[in-house]
């Protein structure tokens, strides 16, 4: 069965630096991969989706890459701010009915 790993449970960086989060999967290449943000005590919020035929996607300070050879997606936040502190989850399609398989998340802390 498909497994997802987000390599770091926690990542601490200084304000202004670029945060890079990693998501690896083990089996079949998914049709798409998604990234979500989750704040404490709240539900996840969708950020970006990248399809299997796309190498890179950008949205404001966010950039996602997708390497089907390495079976890996990287999620970058440039010019990070303390307000970016949250847990970031990656997810990929788990079946034909639209269900997703989620990684356990990486908790990002951006220090002023």
């Amino acid at each position: 069965s498909q497994k997802i790993e987000q390599n770091s449970e926690a990542l601490n960086i200084q304000e202004g630096k670029t945060a890079t989060l990693t998501c690896n999967y083990t089996n079949y290449s998914p049709a798409y991969l998604q990234w979500y943000r989750q704040d404490p005590g709240r539900g996840p919020v969708f950020l970006l989706l990248i399809r299997e035929n796309e190498k890179e996607k950008r949205k404001e300070r966010l950039k996602v890459t997708f390497d089907t050879t390495l079976k890996q997606s990287l999620f970058h936040i440039t010019a990070s701010q303390p307000a970016d502190s949250a847990t970031y989850l990656c997810a990929l399609n788990g079946g034909s009915q639209g269900n997703l398989i989620f990684g356990k998340g990486t908790k990002l802390s951006v220090k002023p």
Partner: protein
């Protein structure tokens, strides 16, 4: 503004009680999902539904059942609550068809079973 609402933010129940968690979405989405989230284990899918009266087991359905009588409402039922069902429960919905497949989540219900 699209919305998924859950009936309670916090709930405390006793072992053996029957517990109902309600979820309502206003986006006319076909798909609805119930997850639980525990520290170190991430989001785990309990059940999902892709249409009214249809349901599919997720990864951890034991001890739970669901009901979807109307498109906008998806209920999670704990027939006899146990302490190991203490968790954060999250409901989500998504659109079927050509779309991103993104899921819209509710705010969550933190359930404590004593």
């Amino acid at each position: 503004d699209v919305k998924v609402t859950q009936s309670s933010r916090y709930l405390v129940k006793r072992t053996g009680e029957k517990v109902f968690l309600e979820c309502v979405q206003d986006m006319d989405h076909e798909n609805m999902f119930w997850y639980r989230q525990d520290p170190g284990l991430g989001l785990r899918l309990i059940y999902f539904s892709y249409d009214v009266k249809m349901k599919e087991k997720g990864d951890i359905p034991e001890g739970y059942s669901v009901s979807r009588e109307k498109k906008e409402r998806f209920s999670l039922i704990l027939e006899s609550a146990s302490t190991n069902q203490t968790s954060m429960y999250l409901c989500a919905s998504s659109f079927v068809g050509q779309g991103t497949g993104e899921q819209f989540f509710g705010p969550g219900t933190r359930l404590t079973v004593l």
